[in-house]
């Protein structure tokens, strides 16, 4: 598996997949997709890069410990629900606002923030597991 071709292409594949995963996550509210699937795609991207370059290189590239990303995701999702409390409605009630940027309005909402949290949790957790398994006796 560890061929020159694969190792050359892997960063490109990974980068494309990450971008694609973000796209899938963002369009999730109206089209097939969402944070969970996006997170899985991103984690697969990390796994591919890990197979090609080794977990140490992946960790260096990620800079942040994947489990910390997962923790941040849970926190983000939990906090996104708090915004509704400012408006005096129950926890996790969706709050919507629209940015009028010309023809396609940009919809910003707390469910979107929540979904981003889900993305981080899935991405972080599965990357962490994958990296830990790829570590072959080294620091994990």
């Amino acid at each position: 598996m560890n061929t020159l071709i694969f190792r050359t292409l892997a960063p490109l594949i990974t980068a494309t997949m990450i971008v694609f995963s973000i796209f899938v996550m963002l369009r999730g509210h109206n089209e097939p997709g969402g944070g969970f699937i996006g997170g899985l795609i991103a984690a697969s991207a990390i796994a591919i890069y890990g197979i090609a370059a080794g977990p140490v290189a992946v960790r260096a590239a990620m800079r942040i410990d994947p489990l910390a990303i997962a923790g941040f995701g849970v926190l983000l999702s939990a906090l996104s629900g708090m915004i509704s409390l400012v408006y005096g409605v129950p926890y996790l009630t969706g709050i919507w606002t629209y940015l009028p940027l010309g023809e396609p309005e940009i919809a910003l909402s707390t469910p979107l923030v929540f979904d981003i949290g889900v993305y981080f949790v899935v991405f972080g957790t599965f990357s962490a597991i994958g990296l830990a398994l790829e570590d072959n006796g080294e620091e994990g």
């Binding site: 097939p32 489990l67 849970v74 996790l92 962490a128 597991i129 994958g130």
Partner: protein, 798 residues
Amino acid sequence: MEVSPDIAVALVAIAPILAAVLAPMVQRLFGSWSGWVLAVVPAVLFVYLWGFVDQVAAGGTIAVSLPWAPVYGFDFSFFIDGLSLTFALTISGIGAFILIYSGAYLKGHPHQGRFLAFLLLFMGAMLGLVLADSVIVLYTFWELTTVASFLLIGFDHSRQLARRAAIQALVVTGLGGLALLAGVVLLQRLTGSWELSGMLASGPEVIAHAAYVPVLVLVLLAAFTKSAQVPFHFWLPNAMEAPTPVSAFLHSATMVQGGVYLLARLSPVLGGTDPWMLSLVGFGSVTLLWGSVAALRQTDLKQMLAQTTIASLGLLILLIGIGTKLALIAAILYFLGHALYKAALFLVAGIIDHEAGTRDITALGGLRDHLTITFLISVLAAASMIGLPPLVSYLAKEEMYLALLDNGWQSLVVLAIMVIGNALLTVVALAVVIKPFMGQFVPVPKDPHEAPLAMLAGPLLFGGLGVLLGLLTGWLSGTVLAPTVSAIAGTPTADPHLALVVDPLTPVFWLSIATWGLGLLLFLRLDTIRTLLRRAQLAIGWTFDIGFDWLMFGLIRLAAGFTRLWHHGRLELYLVVLFAMLAVAMIVPLWTMDGLPDVPGIVDLTFYEWAVMALGVAGVLTLVIARTRLFAILALGVQGLAVALVFLLFGAPDLSFTQLMVEILSVVILALVMTRLRLDRQDPRELEDLLRDGGLAVVCGLGFTALLFAVLQGSFDPRLSDFFNAQSVPVAHGRNVVNVILVDFRGIDTLGEISVVMTAGIATLALIRSARRLLAPTPKTAPPQKSPRRRRTGAAKA
């Protein structure tokens, strides 16, 4: 500010517990004076409760109720009648002096604050127990006394004996607590009331009910464990591991008296029947003799006193069991007299221990010149224990003999038991006062000095009160006995007009003389008796205490055996059990309830649908015949891909998308796990294992298929999907219903799920790391660090 009576009465139980929270702080501020400061709390409670005496003596009761959980009909309710007032006054009165004593007794102890806090907690729990009206409140405080006594007995937790004693008390009385809970819930079903006052008013229907005997057994189990009746008595002598003030409090007014209180309280509801009488009188008699004989065997002052407490508790239970007016009067008088002299004697034992450095009566003697006031106190207390006139215990003894005269031969048997029991208690009383104080001074480890005022005040007062109550019979019988007997008997009882008379013409007087005579005679032979008893004990070689250990170790062994049976550590067997259970759970309900579903006929499929089906089947077949594991994993992925395509073709793109990603990741992760764990490349299972696992897999698959058929053939309830389809865009502004459900409609579920995902991730990492640590030390599987990658990159460059 006017405090409403409701809150004030509830505060009687809560105040000591609140004070317990502050106790460590008070101790830091006031040092050895903290005992005096904290004693203010029970003293105030005593004075407050004293204010109800006239009202209660006039036949009134005070009931208060704060709503607690109205849905279940639970109220935080308390009521005060003669019985609870007598107990509450005793608890708070003795408690105040116990606190003062503890301030001096544990002077300079690093955890004195904690100790005082535990004592206050104990006191509050006991006050709540005797004042509670709601049986749920009663049960709560009952358990709180168990917890508080656990903390107190195990206070000196660095000693193994103290820890064992604490756990033993917790196990035994905790068992009784559970029985009490079941008992009171049953009582509620029978009487329809959660309040004791309501149960008391319910009349004789409980006794007539078929569930009477179970209720009685449960209540007796609770009372007998708490009040240390044979065969549950063994925890009480061991509880001597607690510091002496605890013993004094625990034996006189609290804890063990909880069982006596419970039986007295429920006597109108459950009492008066043959089973009640037989069990109370039977267990009480045995306990009386057991405790008083066991006391003779001891030489440790505290142990002797502890055994006599068992005897006295037996006597009290016996008297409540007899249940006549005279017997109840005797019981109350005995309770008061016993509480006073037992507290005094324990505190004296503490003083002797503190001043002389030992509590062994064979190593003590002639202390009267060194501890003059202590000697005086112990004479007063011992006189009370012997039951000499004019002390209140004399009255108690006269009344209990009177209660049993002229009632047929059964009464005479009980009477004989009482005389023997009292005579044996007399022996102990004489031993406790004569051995340490009289005769030649025996050198002791410490130079004995009279104890400080804080340690003398309580016992002196208790000793004096024993005399005073005996002299104030007119007041006592009208103000205390009449309302208390009324409460226990359940019917208003007039003032018995008790008078202190010593009349040599009555048989009762001669019974007293006989008791004392027998006691004196036995005392003179005490050393011989002790030797004989000890020899007998050695010959038997078994005690209830040892029995308790057997029981506990047996339990532990049983639990260990059970754990070994189910947690053998063999992953294969775990999986076999899991999948077998899954198959049973799927097939059995289908089979028994609706019968197996019909197998649907072949439906028309397009060619590409057939292609997807073929792909899935090919994946499964490849998986089964695959030679190496890696190949099998890949084949599994192919089959999963086919399922993802099925989802896509039949209108579930989200599901399909997710399925695809999960399949990819699981193939990657499974492959990694395989290489990480250095599994064999091929399946090493024997043929019979293969057949077993294969059969199980087929059964599970068939079960799942049957389940799916059953689901598809059932009628589809569209309410939820209609709701989500209708509301998705207008309410949640999203056209992807699945996503809208996940992040909006059921956001809180998703929040829980992602937390689980993260937690599972952390657990997986921990597992991987611990497995690595286990694998690392073996040289075969631990190559030099970094070498694998260097080799890999080197190979790639080449």
